[in-house]
């Protein structure tokens, strides 16, 4: 199959997957909130612009606008097409939860950067450290350094993220008072350059927490693939040629062992927007993960649908990129 044919076929499949996910998304939230509340969706529009409390005509106008835009006056199947169009045009409707107001897309644009900053930096850091430790550990297989790092990282791998978060928060925020307890409340009181400093300070604990949680998985895979590669014949050959250990490790073994990790990295970049619901909630980091949780608690289903859909797009795209990248990086696949 030609590369172009491959890409076209994959793109088609991606769109089908996205439509199905959007449909699941729609019917899930269509059934659930009604089931939970048994109320008219119109009653959910609690947020009112301040100062307009007595302006009934204005409120009614906004309400009518929202209801029309989101198709609440239509039967379910017609609303589904309104919904589908709104998803694929990135016009996700309006927040109805009361915690936030205004169009959902504004909410996402406002809070996605926090998630990308936190998840992006911690994922990259986890991969760099994990890959390095994994390779070193594999090269020293069975020695004290390997056993020690294997045990530690296996332990980290098995640690629940909420536990790490709780421990860090209690020791470093509650007890030693080094870092803020409520990240958002802390950094939102700063402006300008001081804001950046405050943001970074508030990010230390959630960053560390995510780093510790995700480093174990990378390390374990890197270590086992490197061990696999090191037992290949061409490594023996390289050794026989008299190459130095570091040359064998970094020039011959690492290049092959890193392939699955790169795919994995691309896929985990896809899940970056889904954020770390738990870590963000524990540290009150106002990313999309945090808002996923708040949206559920406040029954803000347009926001929830939008977050799910955006995540799905990212994941589908990341998987696609991972496939392409794999073909690009691995000459065996390119040739075959």
């Amino acid at each position: 199959m030609s590369l172009r044919g491959f890409i076209l076929r994959r793109l088609g499949a991606m769109i089908v997957v996205l439509v199905v996910v959007a449909a699941i998304n729609f019917f899930l939230f269509q059934i659930l909130p009604f089931y939970v509340l048994h109320v008219n969706p119109e009653q959910w529009f609690v947020p009112l612009p301040s100062g307009s409390v007595h302006n009934v005509a204005y409120i009614e106008k906004i309400r009518a606008q929202v209801i029309a835009a989101m198709g609440f006056n239509l039967p379910v199947y017609e609303r589904f097409f309104v919904y589908l169009r709104s998803m694929f045009t990135f016009n996700f409707g309006y927040n109805v939860g009361g915690a936030l107001s205004g169009p959902v897309i504004v909410t996402i644009e406002r809070f996605a950067p926090y998630t990308i900053l936190l998840l992006g930096s911690s994922t990259v850091a986890a991969y760099i450290v994990g890959i390095y430790l994994g390779v070193v550990s594999a090269a020293k297989r069975g020695q004290v350094a390997d056993v020690a790092s294997f045990t530690t990282l296996l332990f980290l791998y098995a640690m629940p993220s909420f536990w790490i978060g709780t421990l860090l928060l209690i020791f470093f925020a509650f007890s030693m008072k080094l870092f803020p307890i409520d990240a958002e409340a802390y950094f939102s009181s700063f402006h300008g350059i001081a804001f950046v400093g405050a943001l970074l300070k508030a990010m230390v604990l959630p960053f560390t927490s995510l780093l510790l949680v995700s480093i174990g998985g990378v390390y374990l895979i890197m270590r086992s693939t490197t061990i696999d590669v090191l037992s290949e014949d061409y490594i023996m050959m390289a050794r026989a040629k008299g190459l130095s250990n570091s040359a064998i490790l970094y020039k011959h073994a690492l290049r092959n062992a890193i392939l699955p990790i790169i795919t994995l990295f691309a896929i985990s970049m896809g899940f970056i927007l889904s954020g770390a619901v738990i870590t963000e909630t524990i540290f009150s980091w106002p990313g999309l993960g945090y808002w996923t949780f708040v949206a559920i608690e406040t029954l803000d289903f347009p926001l929830e649908q939008a977050i799910f859909f955006v995540i799905s797009i990212m994941v589908v795209a990341a998987n696609f990129i991972a496939d392409l990248l794999y073909g690009f990086l691995d000459p065996r696949i390119r040739a075959g």
Binding site: A13, V16, V17, V20, V21, I24, L28, F29, L32, Y35, V36, L154, F155, Y157, A158, M159, P160, S161, F162, W163, T166, L167, L169, I170, F174, S175, I181, S224, D228, S231, F271, S274, V277, I278, T281, I282, G289, T292, F293, I296, E297, E304, I307, F308, I311, S312, V315, V316, N319
Partner: protein
Amino acid sequence: MSWSSKHQGISEFFHNKLGITGLAIIVFFTFTALCAPLLTSNSPNQIYVTGPWAVPQWATAFPQYSDLPSNMLVTSADLANWRITTASSTQATPQQVALPASALNGLGFKFDPREALLISSAVPYSAKTFSGETVASLSYNFTYEYKPPYDFTFGDIIYVANVSNVADFYFRFILSGPSGTYKLTSYAIMSNSPVEVISYRNGIPVGRWYDISLSNVLPDVNTAALGPSGSTAVDSGEIFLAKKGIYNYTVQLVIIPQQGETAFVKVYMEPAYFHVLGRAYGLLGSDDKGRDLWSQFVYGSRISIEVGLLASAATVVIGTFLGLFSAIEGGVLDEFWMRVADVILVLPFLPLAIVVLFVFTQSPVVQKDPSILYIWLVVLFSVLSWPGLARVIRSQALSLKERGYVEAARALGAGKLYIMNKHLLPNIMGLVYANLALSVPGFILTEASLDFLFPNASTIPTWGRMIAKAYEHAASATAYGFGWWWFLFPGLAIVLLSLAFVLLGYALDEIFNPRLRKR
């Protein structure tokens, strides 16, 4: 797989130290889960089994916790150990009495009195003693050599046999010692509070055994009565038992006759009890309401193991079946199931689980029986996680399908089911076993995370819920060492159990996957 190779696999497993460690941990937690009622006598949600924020008993080995009190019942059931004083018009005789079992169930402990003091008293009305005359008092000395407790309970079991011409009679509890003298109950306040049942007028029954149980912690407490000057200090134990030394605990019977009459009362009084709620308790201490954490820990292992194993088993069964089925069947069905897998793999697992769990918790069925929640979680987990395994199995089966012996079987007329059963399944069993073990930790962690996010979804004790509650109280727990015993041990248990399954999975992987063997 033939018998000999199976046997070889088992012996190989027993030579794998990590695998054995993992298995041992799993066996341990399975044991605690199965034998939970034998390992602890407390119900996990029973409040004030001990004092709030009690450290584990073994922590008293450390200097900063060395003189914390355990639960202590400072009383004696033997009347000979009590000093009894009576007014002139009063007769007091110790008697052996039989109490109904219902009278003996106190506040989470059993106090078994053997003797009661029979008091018969006639009190003539006199204007001087219009607020009553103390006709009998029982007092008991005890030594208290610990840091002050946060909370305590006290009370008495009584039987009123005969009453005439009384305006009222009541019992008064007094604690005096190096910290001062405190009336634990004060009549002036009692009579203003209709809920108090410590006086005749407020509801002490005649003709049956009656348990007066009071405390500074339980809801029926008039906290105003406890503080030195109507103070509502929560930890009044810290005031009343502030200093180490010898204390005197007294219970008095006070009678108020009707105007111009001579009152007569005949009552049995047990030696009163005074129960210090400990600040050191059990294996894992207690939470903010004095619930036994060891009991929560032990019962919590049930949910983790149940959800982990069931979800993993269901996932493996569905994944293996659909993977094999797609590989053998091919065509439209293969395409269909693999596209379904694609869609599910794109859905964000945890956020979706959060949404579904939230809805479950609102549903009337789950609210009636919260344990159903975990069954639904198992279903949800397996529906969301079979695709990963199905893909692996499918690709494995596809390559096996092209092997010569499968082709030969097909040429001999073997059916699809036969080939699946006899030729494909045995060859992927290694993969299946390893996946069975390796997917458990994910489910344990996710289940715990969901409990952490929705601690109030049910009252079933789980490790995740324990950590959630500890986290909720962390801000107010500065004075209590942040309750380290509360959030540390359930977390460690989650790690250990997950780790155990990882180790087991690795061991199985190494046995069944020859490529991983050390050369």
